[in-house]
Chain length 155, copies 12
């Protein structure tokens, strides 16, 4: 079984692979937490937030797929298993059970901010290493920042 | 924050809630593993299996959503967080890194069979407790069994 | 004009016919009340509830059609005339004139709960009498219970 | 809860409100009777009439919505509850049970003619009071007259 | 070539396999006879019946596919070859050549009734053996009974 | 460059041209202000109002196009330049910077009311001058009044 | 064969019937001439005019259908036979054979102007006789005037 | 204005041009008569025939366009003006006013048969002269014959 | 019940009728066998062949319908009953039970070749008898030959 | 009312905010001027330019929305009010009244060139300050330059 | 690797293969030249010709695919490589660089005429050899001749 | 005929023009070779590779269009004529005749790799010269690399 080859140097491949794997973990956990809140939400703002969370989950799943396929395209195997997410994710903890609308706004604002901060570091890290991957990270960061604003506007 | 009420007895609600929560864990992990294989797959059968795995992931995500919304509708809060999946899932382990097509067929056959076995136990358990939830479990089991056949036909 | 025949025994046909006719009355009145609230709603939550009520009306109309066509398919003539609805419906009364958003949430929660209670009795009643009709009732009860949760989550 | 305001004078608002409320009752009852006939129809002309009745019901529902939303837009609360329909509707009575195709044609011809007669009176009444509402009534009367012709052509 | 396995016991697999194979034969022959009548139909009611028959054929083909795929999914090979249809089908005979509209109504009423009778026996037979297959049979029986009513209403 | 000719008298053309040009200014400014609020909105009701404002902008743009093309069709050149909007528009002022949801509801209620008042004057003015243009103004006024109600219901 | 009845007085029915029959002749001839020019056109402006003529033909056919169905709906039989068009049409003559683009613009400008002039007379004539038919004529006149402007702008 | 040239000999161009011009006259008159019957139809079969006639008109219009564009493509100017149709058409006469369904079936059967007879002569005539045009005529004849059968089956 | 008439001579009608009936038998049996293989297929190439067979079945059903409707259009009643297929079909036998992918490729290659051979004989036979039917046979033969190549390329 | 926060430094936020606000003014004014020309255009090239201008307006509106939402996402309130456009826009002046096609080509070429020049300066300015915003500006500049070429090719 | 077989004789296969390969070369070069002109076009007629050329390219690509797949279906390998196009194509030369609209019309008229001439020779050549391929060539020649007329009409 | 102007310096225009012209040659040749393999492919993997190649061709054609239009937008005339492709392309040679699936995988892997290498050089070259063109090259390189991976995974 021959490994997938790419034109990146070993150094650049490692830097880019780390950035993409980190982004993958963030995005999969964002999708899982987004669904958790989508289901367990309560409060008068149920309907608009219920719908908004699904938009975020949809974005996270789509971008996770692009990021993982980009990783394998440069010869790095992505890892999106549940155990990896639990081990590596840095997102805020969310308790089980019902969760009120105001609490969801606060938690999601924090989570999105922390993901965006790491994404911006990955954009810097990949600028020299692989501008093609960087372009992908820039695009998804713009989308995440738009959702960050829309969630934040409701505090 | 008043709890969501339902017309089920406490006993039936507990039985049905357990069945739905178990199904949710199976389906979320199936989606994560399916994507893991979708990305890291290699071999001559790459393309058809790559596509087939996405069909399975799509099914698992859709049914996970129905199962979780059914749980909350009967007053039980579903739990689909990564840590819960890692703790409760009984699916076979899949190693990180590239994975050959023949291996994927074997692993997915096992995984689907073990999920189907548990789903059939849940169908029995909910027959008296809540026929409405049972109907949902029957429907998704039919879909899982169809994929089990299609994967198995390739051994 | 020969009557429509079916393969059900007279006894089973009567039991099933009653269940379907009762479901039809519930669903038509639900659609009428849903529209009444959709039009006369006021309050800051106007837009999300306005849209949600239309989802419920759409469901009620579609299922009323399925239930009525099922009745005639087993040889029982359904009755969905306004006078029959007024005479037989057991839904809560709703006053004319403007109605505030909080009030709508409370009334719709009650109405959906009372419909679901009767639907579950009909599911039991038709289990032996006609599993085909029972299957239809199970499916629509699942949809009603999902809306019950979503409305209730806003109390 | 502040009432919805409009720019119409009290007198014009009353005239227009009456016209719209009357139209709403006619249209909702037309939809209920159309469905009743759609389900209980028999005879060799079953299929074309079965389909035609659904076209009429679809029109009646859509226009009832426009009429009711127009009423609330000028500050008059529409009333489409079942009891109001039974109390105020002037449409011909239709017996329960199976109904032959020829009978349906006759009854629907009468019903449409009586609705159209009242709609034309409402068009006259609103000409000065509110040309915007009149324009809506003119449009739906054209559609009703088209169906009147098509039903009538089958006598 | 390893056989497709399933989790059903040998006994339940045999019962369910027989029910599905019987349903398959009924549905394929229904589609062939429906097309035969669709083409050779004559009489004043040509157009509505010509269209209605195509609706029935479309249903029969779609459900035959679901039934056959369900059979193979439980490890039973479906048999839909022409010789099997001829040997096993119990549907009424239809002569070659032109066939008048009144005759088509009579023949199709008989054929649908006999299929429905056997489908209800299969629903009973599979209740214990395989509720997943039973659910599929219940759903298609509801559709067949709806067409039985619509055809019968034209006698 | 020959001017576009029309069949209206000079007097009627002037009256109608003024009405259409006035409507154009109102609609373009409504679209600009609607977008301004759509972007700078804050508060818990962010999402439903954000979406509702886009519905209003979409309507205003579409009708502005119809009004302007109607003007040129009768030989009057419409003027929709920014400087003309600033000079002629009578809509309420909206400050730059963030704007809370309650404020948006209040401002949009006022703006829509003032536009509707002028549109009704234009309907009167064009009744004799050009019933074709009047019909266009009647239709768009109905749409504006519907939005006026929906915004106002949230006070 | 009972005649189609309507609620118009004999006098109003005659006035309206004449207006609609006249409009029908104009629209059918417009469609035939538009196609004639569409096919035989030559010159550098071939493509844009070729497409624009088809827009006009499409409009004329659609409106002819509405006008004719309106006529029969009020109890007047429309007449759209070729011989009637030849006998009654007042449109400019168009020679057989190839026709240059500049000529098409000139002829179509004249034809549209003459149709619009007659349509405006019909709008006046039907104002009292039947406002429902008038509304239909006003709408199609607006569309014709839009095309008149667009064609005229190319002189 | 240079004439459109083609590669056909003068003789073949004349034969083919005649065939296409004849087909054009037949198809335009078929569309006009089909609409005339579509509007003035009466009787119990109103709805299915009303729809069927529109299918025929749609076919005739589409094929007339293909035939005319084919003519000009070989350098022959098609002529579809009303006066040409009246002068050259050989279709049966249809009286003005209401027309019963049985009569429509009879007339349309005759008309389609006569058109088909001439189309088959044109197929023979163009076999040597221009097989490209012949192919177009064969295709439209198949469609006309299908409609001929469907209309004829209703006698 | 008058027979459907056509303009073909008795001799040509017989030749063409035989060709079309033969084609109908081939196409219906192809659809049945294609589905049989679609369901009972096994092997690593399961998925692409499973999909490819459905393309073939879809083609066969669509063309069978065109062929049968063409037959009745020329006055010959098509016969597509199961017993006729068994009696007249010349396609290779396919055993019941599971069938490996390589075997399916071999069998389908043979079956398509034998159908194509007969279709080409029918093209010759109908050249004089009825070029309209011949054109239909030429078109479907091209599609069959394309599938023959695609299947054959996998040997 | 808490301001929207972002991760940019105050300096970078100011630079990026200025670039986005400047782009917003350019795009809104481009849309207003494009519509002005779309309506008041005259000349032989009316139709192709009329359509092309609408493509440009559509682009400008869509990108204005993206730019404004990007601004608020980084904590800068966009300002798209008419008075701001008049005050800040640097686009060429366009006179009121009819405008010939050649003039439109010249003016639009100038306007697009001046916008593109400023957009390129903004691309440079944001390269360090915020690559995410820069990416948005690059994409819209490519679209503007494509239209600049297409307009310019017609000089 | 077994060659693809077909039922054509060696002689007919050679004749047909040559015709199809020749058509393939013509169509691919037409698509390349069409795009070249589409991109480098200048002049006041830029927009309509720019769009028209894309219609031609779209046709050429679609038909090239049909022709090549037809070749391989009869056992002849098509050759569409760039070197083959350069070696075998007989189309007129087109210079690099900008090309004025009048020049494009002239060149495309020549190119289409020369392709049509060869296509007609191929239609003759395949009449006996393979009527199925001939039918394909006839169809695409009709489309090419339509474009030839439309381009030529602009000289 | 005035040249298309742009805001790039002569030096930057030359660098960017060379990069875009080189990309155009690569993409057109990729499309031609992809189609050649699509048609002449043999082997058991026929169907999935046949479809995959069409995805690549579709991408190459779409991006070639974007690249060429970008070139002309900056004032450089693109050259996509067959002779230019033959002269300038550096892609691997592909023999005429049938080509086995394994061979296609190998050749396409090489071709995609060589194109990607050159694209990355072009990305570097345009970074200073024209970031707008660079952005286009980055996007298409990402798509090419995704296909490179998918093809390569099948070795």
């Amino acid at each position: 079984m021959a490994p997938i080859t790419s034109l990146l140097t070993a150094e650049n491949k490692k830097i880019t692979g780390n950035a993409l794997q980190g982004a993958l973990v963030d995005l999969i956990d964002l999708a899982l937490i987004g669904k958790q809140a989508h289901w367990n939400l309560t409060g008068r703002f149920f309907r608009p937030i219920h719908l908004q969370l699904d938009d975020i989950v949809k974005l996270a799943r789509k971008k996770a797929d692009s990021v993982a396929e980009r990783a394998v395209a440069i010869g790095v195997n992505p890892d999106g298993r549940a155990s990896t997410i639990v081990h590596d994710s840095q997102l805020s903890h969310m308790d089980a059970g019902p969760i009120e609308d105001g609490k969801v706004i606060a938690v999601m604002t924090d989570i999105l901010e922390s993901i965006i901060r790491r994404m911006r570091e990955r954009i810097d890290a990949t600028e020299r290493a692989d501008p093609v991957s960087q372009d992908l990270l820039i695009g998804l960061t713009r989308d995440l920042e738009m959702h960050h604003w829309m969630i934040q506007a409701q505090r």
